[in-house]
C-alpha cells in the first residue's frame, strides 16, 4: 500500500514507505533574497508609521509584530540537520532505545504499517512496546501474531493489553518498566517512520545538553482531501518556521509532535510521577502529553528539532474529525501556555514566544469581536488584513521546500505552495477562533476522537484507580 491511501486496504505486512530528505539551501543565496524581502517590508512599515500619524499606535504595533515574525523567519533559515562524527555515531549505536506505541482503536492495517516501518529502520530500536490501551473496536490478533513471529531478532517486542486509561498512562507502562533504556521514543499508532528516522532522530543526543528531539511530521494521506492538504500545509509551515527558529534559538522547541519524538530516558524517569499525576482543578490531565514531556525537557536542557528525522502521520480526513482533534489540541495548548509562562526562564526564547503569542492572541480575539460587531466599518480593514497576512504567509511558506518526499513531484509541491493563502484563511477564521473554545473548556480532558462505536472517554474515577490497582493485562512477548 503506497502513501496517500489512508488506512484502507488489507493487512499485508509489507508496504511502500516514501523517502524524505532535508534540503540544505545555500545560505548566502537565501539570505540575499530573504534580506531584500524583509528590508522592503520593514521600509513599508516605517512608511505607514510616518504617513499615518493619526494611527501611530496601531502602525507601531504592526511594525513590532512584523519584526517578531521576520526575526523568526530569518532565524528559521539557519536550521540544519544535526550531524555526528564517526566516534559520536559509535556511541549512539550503543544507546539502548525503547519505542512505546500506545494503541487505541487504531485500524489494524495502519498499525501493521507502523510496525513494518519500525522494523525496517536503518537503526533498529532495542525494544518495542505495543500497549493496547483497551481498544474496543478492532482485533489486532493477526498483526500481533505476525510481528511477534517475524520481528528482527535483535529487537525485543512486547505486546500488552490493558484496560483503557489514556495515552499518558499507556506510555507510562513502558517508561516505568524499562530500567535500561537510555532513550525513549514516543510513536503514535498511526505514524509511519521514514526509513532513517530513528538513526537521524538520535543524532542530536550526541550533545549531552539535548534532552528531547522532535521529529518532522508529514501527512501520510496528504492527497486524500482538501482538509488533509490544508492541514499538511499549515503543519509544514509551522514546523519549518516557528519550530525551526525555536530549535536554532538555543534548543527551545515548545511542542514535540506526539506522533514521533525522542527523549532522554533519565529525564522521563525523574518526571514520571508528575507526568501521570498532573491534575487541573482536581481532575487528571489527560491531554497535552507531548507538550508536557517537551516542557520537562526544556527545564533540564535543550529541546531541539531534527529536520532529517521524518515521520508520516494520518491526518483527519473529515471536517468533524479535524475540528474535534483541533479542540483537543487547543485544550492542551491552553494549559501548557500557562505552564510555560510559569516554569520557563524569562531569559529564554520559548518564554518570550509564549508571552508575545499570549498578547497577540488576546488582541486577535478582541479585534475579531470588534470586526463582528462593526462589520460595516471594519470590512475594508478585514479584507486588507487578510490579504496582507496571506501575502506574508506565502513568503514565509518558502520554508516548506526544506523537506522533500519521494512520492511528491515538483508539481505537487507547487500545488501545496498555491494552497498557502487558503490554509492561512482556514487558520485565521476557523482554527484560531476555536482556540478560544479550547481555552474556555480546558477542564474537559476527554480525548474526544476515536469515540465512534463503543469507544468511551475514560472517566476520572477510572484514571485515578489505575495507579492503585493491580494491572489486569494480557501479555505477549517475543
Amino acid at each position: 500500500m503506497a502513501a496517500g491511501q489512508g488506512g484502507r486496504g488489507p493487512v499485508t505486512h509489507e508496504y511502500e514507505i516514501p523517502r524524505a530528505t532535508a534540503a540544505r539551501p545555500r545560505l548566502a543565496l537565501v539570505y540575499a533574497g530573504v534580506g531584500v524581502v524583509v528590508a522592503l517590508a520593514a521600509a513599508r512599515h516605517f512608511y505607514y508609521i510616518d504617513k499615518w500619524p493619526h494611527y501611530r499606535l496601531v502602525t507601531v504595533i504592526w511594525a513590532i509584530a512584523f519584526a517578531c515574525t521576520a526575526l523568526q523567519w530569518l532565524v528559521s533559515w539557519l536550521e540544519r540537520p544535526y550531524t555526528v562524527t564517526p566516534r559520536q555515531q559509535a556511541r549512539l549505536d550503543l544507546m539502548q532505545v525503547t519505542v512505546n506505541i500506545p494503541v487505541y482503536n487504531e485500524e489494524p492495517v495502519v498499525l501493521d504499517r507502523v510496525l513494518y516501518a519500525l522494523f525496517a529502520q536503518t537503526r533498529l530500536p532495542n525494544r518495542v512496546d505495543v500497549v493496547d490501551d483497551g481498544s474496543t473496536q478492532e482485533d489486532y490478533s493477526a498483526v500481533r501474531d505476525y510481528w511477534l513471529a517475524h520481528h528482527p531478532p535483535s529487537v525485543e517486542l512486547n505486546w500488552r493489553r490493558y484496560p483503557n486509561v489514556g495515552k499518558k498512562r499507556a506510555q507510562a507502562r513502558t517508561f516505568g518498566s524499562d530500567a535500561t533504556a537510555e532513550v525513549f521514543v514516543t510513536l503514535d499508532s498511526d505514524t509511519t517512520l521514514a526509513r532513517n528516522a530513528l538513526e537521524e532522530g538520535l543524532k542530536p543526543f550526541a550533545d549531552s545538553t539535548v534532552h528531547s528531539v522532535a521529529g518532522i511530521e508529514l501527512a501520510w494521506n496528504y492527497g486524500c482531501s482538501l482538509l488533509t492538504r490544508i492541514k499538511g500545509v499549515n503543519a509544514l509551515i509551522w514546523q519549518f518556521t516557528v519550530c525551526s527558529a525555536q530549535s536554532v534559538a538555543g534548543g527551545n522547541v515548545l511542542v514535540n509532535r506526539g506522533t514521533f519524538a525522542l527523549y532522554r530516558a533519565d529525564m522521563i524517569r525523574e518526571t514520571l510521577a508528575a507526568y501521570v499525576g498532573e491534575t487541573l482543578f482536581g481532575r487528571p490531565v489527560m491531554l497535552g502529553d507531548d507538550t508536557m514531556l517537551t516542557l520537562f525537557a526544556l527545564n533540564r536542557g535543550r529541546a531541539v528539532q531534527q529536520p532529517s528525522a521524518v515521520c508520516f502521520a494520518m491526518y483527519p480526513e473529515t471536517l468533524s474529525h479535524t475540528l474535534r482533534q483541533w479542540t483537543r489540541w487547543m485544550r492542551g495548548t491552553a494549559l501548557r501556555t500557562l505552564w510555560r509562562l510559569r516554569y520557563l526562564s524569562p531569559a529564554s526564547w520559548g518564554w518570550w514566544y509564549t508571552a508575545i503569542t499570549t498578547w497577540s492572541y488576546l488582541a486577535f480575539v478582541s479585534v475579531l469581536a470588534a470586526v463582528a460587531v462593526d462589520w460595516h466599518e471594519a470590512r475594508s480593514f478585514a479584507a486588507t488584513a487578510l490579504s496582507i497576512s496571506a501575502a506574508w504567509m506565502w513568503l514565509v511558506a518558502s520554508r516548506m521546500f526544506a523537506v522533500r518526499r519521494s512520492d511528491q513531484r515538483l508539481i505537487d509541491r507547487l500545488e501545496a505552495f498555491l494552497l498557502v493563502p487558503v490554509a492561512m484563511v482556514w487558520l485565521t477564521l476557523v482554527l484560531r477562533p476555536m482556540r478560544l473554545w479550547g481555552t474556555l473548556t480546558m477542564r474537559e480532558q476527554g480525548w474526544v476522537t476515536r469515540r465512534r462505536g463503543a469507544e468511551t472517554r475514560s472517566s476520572v474515577a477510572d484514571v485515578a484507580a489505575v495507579g492503585a490497582e493491580t494491572p489486569r493485562w494480557t501479555s505477549y512477548e517475543s
Binding site: R44, Y55, I61, L338, A370, E377
Partner: protein
Amino acid sequence: MTVRLVQVLLHIVIPGTAPTPFLSVVGDCFLWSFPASLLIMALVRFGWRRGKGVEDP
C-alpha cells in the same frame, strides 16, 4: 525622486491601503490586550500555589 520611486516600488510589492477609522479600534484592542496578558502572566508566574486549584507538576 528616489524616495518617490521607492514608495512606488513598495506599493507594487505590498498592495497599499487607505487608513480607515477602524484602525483606531484595532489599536485599542492591542493596547488593552497588553495589560490583560501581563495580568495573566503575573497571576500564572506568581499567583498560583500548590493546592490552589491547579496542582504544580
